[in-house]
Amino acid sequence: MRRLVIILTISAVLIGVTAWVTSMEKVGVFDVFTWGDLANEARNHFWMVFVAVGIATGVGVLLAVLVTRPRFSKLATLVIGTGNVGQSIPSLALIAIMLPLLGLGFKSVIVALFIYGLLPILRNSYAGIRNIDPAVIESARGMGMSRLQIARKIELPLARPVIMAGIRISTIITVGTAELAVLVGGNGFGRITFTGVFAYEPLLILQGAAPTALMAIILGFMLELVERRITPRGLKVEA
């Protein structure tokens, strides 16, 4: 309950700041962005995050399932390690390096955001599956379930809350990182923020940064609700 109040308060402040700056015609000699611009960049921003996290989810969960199979268990360190390295590259460098590799535009942005958002999902999925009580798997096998059935009906459902938490973390990180997309020919709220940086106008920076933060909070909250919804009843901690 108290968390909800905090989230609502912060959201209200962020909306207020955005509305305040947008209602000005100019800050200094610079034009502020219109509501139309904001709506447009919100769409662009969300779309980037959606595509990148979507791909990261598919790849991350698949990889996690793969490396938790006994046959591929030796690959686990390698895969998780590679994911770790992906995220230890500074986000700005990762996006910038796409420029010579893939050129300007949406493609570069998505690849960079994907690499950056993959690790939380991969690591959580891996941990979620690994931490399932072996006795449960054992009994499933005893009931005559095939390997595929065990993965689909036992492992993934039991690991789902942890996987969802990974997706949520990845989404929140990606909303922030997507600010940088504009540096390699993408779009999104970064366009507004960086105009503020180059115009050296704090209010213009806020006009881009506040809605970005708002998007991260809203998406994070929504995914948290989903996370709670899909937790199997037996795993729910009684409040």
């Binding site: 139309g36 050129g103 300007l104 540096l183 960086f194 115009a199 050296y200």
Partner: protein, 316 residues
């Protein structure tokens, strides 16, 4: 743990020494600032190297945006920089622009900025204006010559022409929104790309857009023979690159004025009133200089050094 204390102390001491380190006592210390594109990197280096040659201790703050540089000048963090007359008139002094000649605009800026304790030295008449450019093929295919023609094309295509500009241009009063108002067109938001300085011409080079913002003295325009749309409504003011100095610094070191005017005098029409020939020749001189960096891949400090040596301002 105890062993660590002297190490930590030594580190702190080292940091303090480095931070507070000054040049030799009594040295003439000034800070030069420059903006974030080729021409500005070169002029910053020219001023730095020349002043150093004349006995100054110069620190250079490089890569600032227009407004950041101005704020640095106002706060006193930066003593000397070179900015454009049109930029000063419209951004720093926040005036609307009425068509004015090069000399008149320079005088207006010089006079008004004196009230802010800035002294504008002699200008270089290189008129490095914002321009919109396209591949020659695009201009020929669509029969567009001037910005008015281009505006008509935008209207016809409902703004669906991919256009690349930089961040400053997307918000400045001499930038895209005002240009759209003046020429009565609008770029569809989905077809508008915005980025860091220099990326718009990279976008055009890679055919990621049809129309790009550039600077009049950009070397890349000549390299590819890009079509530059004529500003037939005189929307843009003259943009003549001019060093200016904080008055207090000039009071302390009056010789700076002669030193930098000497540099300006190496350019066509430097130190004299602007004429059409002077503007065009000075523009070409700067295009060639920018090409040394953008095309020939020299570093800005090398290009600056080369110019200073060639013009006999400093020894090899």
């Amino acid at each position: 743990m105890r062993k660590l204390i002297p190490v930590a102390l030594a580190l702190v001491l080292a940091v303090v020494l480095v931070v507070t380190a000054c040049g030799p006592p009594g040295a003439k210390q000034v800070t030069v600032g420059n903006k974030n594109f080729t021409e500005e990197y070169i002029i910053g280096q020219m001023m730095k190297q020349l002043l150093e040659d004349r006995g100054f201790n110069v620190s250079l703050t490089s890569g600032l945006s227009t407004t950041a540089l101005r704020q640095g000048m106002e706060s006193g963090d930066i003593d000397i920089c070179a900015d454009y007359t049109g930029t000063a008139w419209m951004i720093h002094l926040a005036h609307a622009y009425e068509p004015t000649g090069h000399n008149e605009l320079y005088e207006m800026v010089k006079q008004e900025d004196a009230g802010n304790n800035f002294v504008w030295l002699d200008p270089m008449w290189n008129h490095n204006s914002y321009v919109l450019v396209s591949w020659a093929q695009f201009a020929t295919d669509n029969e567009v010559e001037t910005l008015s023609d281009l505006a008509a094309l935008y209207q016809q295509e409902e703004g669906k022409i991919t256009t690349y500009v930089d961040f400053e241009f997307s918000a400045r009063p001499d930038g895209l929104p005002a240009l759209e108002d003046s020429y009565n067109f609008e770029v569809d938001a989905a077809y508008l790309l915005t980025g860091v300085p220099g990326i718009s011409t990279l976008g055009l080079e890679n055919h990621e857009c049809d129309v790009a913002m550039a600077f009049g003295t950009d070397a890349i325009i000549g390299k590819y023979g890009w079509h530059v749309y004529t500003d037939d409504l005189s929307f843009w003011p003259p943009y003549d690159l001019t060093p200016y100095v904080r008055a207090e610094v000039l009071d302390e070191y009056p010789e700076i004025e002669d030193i930098l005017n000497e540099l300006v005098a190496t350019f066509p029409g430097g130190g004299e009133a602007a004429t059409a020939e002077a503007v065009s020749e000075c523009q070409q001189a700067w295009q060639a200089l920018n090409a040394r960096v953008d095309t020939d891949k020299l570093e800005p400090d090398e290009a600056a050094h080369e110019w200073l040596v060639q013009n006999g301002l400093i020894e090899e």
